[in-house]
């Protein structure tokens, strides 16, 4: 679950990390009101996508009037598919240095890792690609947490201003604590600003929570409501169905994440464009297939559906019966191709003959068939 900048900053503040004074507003007039109080401000679009600066979605405003006009220009814009509803209006900082600081999971070491760089305020992916040595890393042993001497080494390696070292070390510890206690997947501050008065603040904030850990974070559930922006994804998740909305027109349903992913690949390979990823998991009970079809059909762009099922422990013929039952209970107006493999797959496919469902024996065949039918 990705949080908005203002939500991430709420968490950081809870852990004692300083952030600029500011308020989140949904109406441009309110931005002027906040600027009256704060003086020179920055108006920042609240949206789950990176690259806001380059896109003109973070703007300095010298006056309340300018703050209002900046907010007016931003609110209502669509950016990378997301409609911007709110802006964060924050006091502009007196910046002496901009650093990059993050905690995330390092798959290779199977542990959390702290990353720190003196190259803050710019796209860290670019820094990572061009000069990876500019990003200092410290893997955190979960048995001990980051130790003081490790943090000192991290700061030294990153080559930060020694005068800021103590303040940064303090933020590093707090960031890791927030990361750990909130079960984060990512906690990032870019830039971490050192002002000319040597105070250290999180000028921007990204925070991503491990969805699997949400069950033990009732305090974060309020953010969840706000986090989902795609209405179909939101509905799918309410029903507990792993659905990812994409921008094509071929609906994809399958059992098992790897199988579905591969089905997307097949459709793409044959020139089609998948409308979604949807995994119905083990087996293929009729009610689950029905739920899946309902969700996929919420996307009005869908012109055809590919159902790819592997009959594993549940046998192919039983799976076919489940699918038939589900489809009959719905009024489906688009073609459906069913590809089936595994235990008793041929028996399963035979059951589909004479029904509106189009059988296919291989992913390639299924992809070809559904693309053809959808174009017809």
């Amino acid at each position: 679950m990705k949080l908005y900048e203002f939500q991430a900053k709420e968490i950081f503040q809870r852990y004692g990390i300083a952030v600029p004074a500011g308020r989140m507003v949904a109406r441009a007039a309110d931005a002027a009101y906040v600027a009256e109080e704060l003086g020179r401000v920055v108006v920042k679009a609240q949206v789950h996508a990176g690259g806001r600066g380059k896109a003109g979605l973070i703007k300095l405003a010298e006056s309340p009037e300018q703050a209002q006009s900046r907010a007016e220009a931003i609110i209502g814009q669509t950016f990378k598919g997301y409609v911007i509803h709110r802006v964060l209006v924050e006091a502009a900082l007196d910046i002496a240095a901009e650093y990059y600081l993050a905690a995330t999971i390092d798959r290779a070491s199977k542990r959390a890792v702290l990353m720190l760089s003196a190259m803050g305020g710019i796209d860290i992916e670019e820094v990572a690609a061009r000069s990876p040595e500019k990003i200092a890393r410290q893997v955190v042993d979960p048995a001990y947490g980051p130790l003081d001497f490790e943090i000192r080494a991290l700061i030294a390696q990153a080559g930060l201003d020694p005068a800021a070292a103590r303040g940064v070390a303090d933020v590093v510890k707090k960031l890791y604590r927030a990361f750990l206690e909130c079960d984060a997947a990512l906690a990032e501050i870019n830039p971490l600003v050192v002002t000319s008065q040597k105070t250290v603040l999180a000028a921007d904030a990204k925070f991503e929570v491990d969805d699997n850990a949400l069950f033990r974070h009732p305090e974060l559930l309020g953010y969840k409501e706000e986090a989902e922006e795609d209405p179909i994804e939101a509905e799918a998740h309410r029903r507990g169905v792993p659905y990812v909305h994409l921008d094509g027109d071929i609906g994809i349903i399958g059992n098992g994440a790897g199988l579905v992913m591969n089905t997307l690949d097949m459709v793409t390979r044959q020139g089609g464009r998948p409308a979604n990823f949807l995994d119905i998991g083990g087996g293929a009970r009729a009610d689950l297939v029905r739920q899946a079809l309902e969700i996929v059909l919420m996307d009005k762009k869908v012109k055809g559906i590919l159902l790819n099922v592997f009959g594993g422990i549940t046998r192919g013929d039983e799976v076919a019966k489940g699918i038939l039952e589900a489809v009959r209970s719905l009024d489906v107006r688009v073609p459906i191709v069913v590809r089936m493999a595994g235990t008793r797959a041929s028996e399963g496919l035979r059951l589909l003959e004479g029904t509106p469902l189009v059988p296919a024996a291989s992913p390639e065949e299924a992809a070809r068939k559904i693309i053809g039918l959808a174009r017809a």
Partner: protein
């Protein structure tokens, strides 16, 4: 035994009294796996599918000499179950459970790591040595015994490969699903190392996917250490960056984990990469003599 599981496996099923645990205990027993014990706190003294249930793994190990554990415990308690198994002297823990919080897995692997205990998974289909033991949830019917090692981050996709292999008259030495999570106990490299020293395995099929750098690490390892033929396949090539395709591990973030990088790494290491699973199996057939 080819690798990890076989005739020597003495299995304890953690979470045996749950729906999944009970069903797969029956399936594994039916296949011939030596399921010696079950474990669910508070349910000690009962039986499931003829298997005695204990209150703790320690009690199960003491009574039955179990050396391997499979975990069907619900996600909030699964990491603790992994650690309990390790503390009780279990040497191999196969964690089927999906949806364990990543930081729980980090902690559990720190714990098992310092005890020299191998964990496969979590969020994996398990491991299977056809004709000897199935420790997992894979459909046994589709497997033929043979000399091809299979290792994969995906469940159903693996079944598909195995099914194609069987249809092509080829068989499997051991099939290991390492799991689709970002943090997993046993990686491609660990499995490749085991296949390399396994006399039964003559070639290895590696089913990778987008996200992370396990495939790149595996490619480097193959080039340096593996003399047996390895063939690879990468799933998720059409996935857009930043979208999580079911597997928490399968997500392209920035320049990390792209299919292009993985394919390039394998090719640079001399590992052929198939475009489709059919092609993968066909390539395998060309390299392995059928016994």
């Amino acid at each position: 035994m080819a690798i990890f599981v076989g005739k020597e496996t003495r299995l304890v099923v953690q979470g045996i009294t749950g729906r999944e645990g009970a069903f797969h205990t029956q399936q594994m027993k039916a296949y011939g796996t030596n399921v010696v014990a079950g474990m669910t706190p508070g349910r000690g003294g009962t039986e499931v599918e003829g298997v005695p249930v204990f209150d703790s793994v320690a009690a199960a190990v003491a009574a039955t000499g179990a050396n391997t554990s499979i975990i069907f415990v619900p996600a909030p308690f699964a990491a603790d179950s992994i650690m309990e198994a390790a503390a009780a002297g279990i040497r191999l823990v196969i964690a089927i459970t999906e949806g364990i919080p990543t930081l729980d897995v980090v902690k559990a692997l720190r714990y098992t790591g310092e005890r020299g205990v191998r964990v496969i998974g979590p969020n994996c289909p398990g491991a299977m040595t056809p004709g000897e033991a199935k420790v997992g949830i894979m459909p046994a019917d589709i497997f033929r015994r043979g000399n091809i090692g299979v290792v994969s981050r995906s469940g159903t996709l693996t079944y598909e490969v195995v099914n194609l292999l069987s249809e092509a008259g080829l068989g499997v030495s051991t099939c290991v699903g390492v799991g689709g999570d970002p943090v997993i106990g046993t990686t491609f490299v660990d499995v490749l190392a085991a296949f390399q020293t396994d006399p039964q395995t003559e070639a290895v099929l590696l089913i990778g996917e987008i996200g992370g750098t396990d495939e790149e690490t595996a490619a480097a390892y193959i080039q340096a250490q593996v003399t047996k033929p390895v063939l690879a396949f990468i799933s998720g090539r059409s996935a857009p960056p930043g979208k999580r395709m079911g597997h928490a591990g399968a997500i392209i973030s920035g320049s990390m984990g792209t299919p292009q990088a993985k394919v390039a790494a394998f090719q640079a290491a001399g590992v052929p990469v198939a475009d489709t699973l059919d092609q993968l199996v066909q390539m395998a057939g060309e390299r392995v003599r059928v016994k």
